[in-house]
Symmetry: C2
Subunit: 173 residues, 2 copies
């Protein structure tokens, strides 16, 4: 099954992480493959998820924020990183080793045109039946949403950033 | 901070679980206290989260679905269980041991009038500053939403149940 977690609200990545925990608890393996997010920026989950050892594969393939928050990398480098991450994702998905593969922030990589929509569509159509996929990130393309079995829009009703509270360790990352 | 995850879409509980994982990764402790959900029904997370040992307290205080799915328990018993769970939650919250306490499905317990709204409001207003709370479940009362710092509505755009696919082990539980 194909799950899409999109929308501007908080909780998409953590929901995919929770789903991976659930799958592992039922005796299967999971993989989380992150686009955009870089190894230079350690999130709580990077550390905590190590406890699952071989049952959870965790790949951080991005180069950080694209075009915002002081990013000075040429877009070509972000693109190269995203394409490489997609190749890794493909390998894991078609290995048939996992009950769940999370493609975290892939919707953002798609909307920034770092990876090709056609290629992602091909992957989700051909993914092995025993492997569920979760695609997260805001601005999921409509063509992708059409192909999904389950879509949740995470809608921001209120967010403390708007009141001047900034990202807090262990909360936003 | 008070987080509310509400709405009819999938991902609220898993998102709270992911948030707990994140908090643990940043070196704090977390507690997940579940209303409605019963120990008789083992979800993937019940098993997988044991790996975090003392860093994660997990309490399942419910008696199962209320008034649906063949539930024949008198409502008074559901109410008793929910009230007891709220007492336990209060104890954990005010112990100041946790960076995060999740009150899973408490919105449902509120909308079914198993616990008193005034009591929950009092708890979230007096909760220690070092302990964030996440309240999950559909139909969160408006008065509660007003008191929260961050609110995400999980909106169902598509769900396979509607196509006749039923809850799958490791996916829905």
């Amino acid at each position: 099954m194909i799950f899409i977690f999109t929308g501007n609200g908080k909780g998409k990545t953590t929901s995919a992480i929770g789903q991976a925990v659930r799958v592992i608890g039922q005796g299967e393996r999971a993989a989380i493959i992150q686009f955009i997010k870089s190894r230079k920026w350690a999130a709580g989950e990077d550390i905590a998820l190590k406890v699952f050892g071989k049952n959870l594969k965790f790949i951080k393939g991005g180069k950080g924020f694209v075009g915002i928050m002081g990013d000075r990398l040429p877009k070509s480098l972000h693109k190269k990183a995203a394409e490489k991450t997609l190749r890794k994702a493909k390998k894991e998905i078609f290995s048939k080793k996992y009950g769940l593969v999370v493609l975290d922030e892939i919707n953002v990589a798609l909307s920034l045109k770092l990876v090709k929509l056609n290629e992602v569509l091909k992957i989700i159509k051909m993914a092995p039946k025993e492997t569920d996929l979760i695609l997260t990130g805001r601005d999921s393309p409509k063509t992708l949403i059409k192909e999904a079995d389950l879509v949740t829009e995470f809608k921001e009703i209120r967010h403390p950033f708007k009141k001047g509270v900034w990202g807090k360790k262990g909360r936003e990352y």
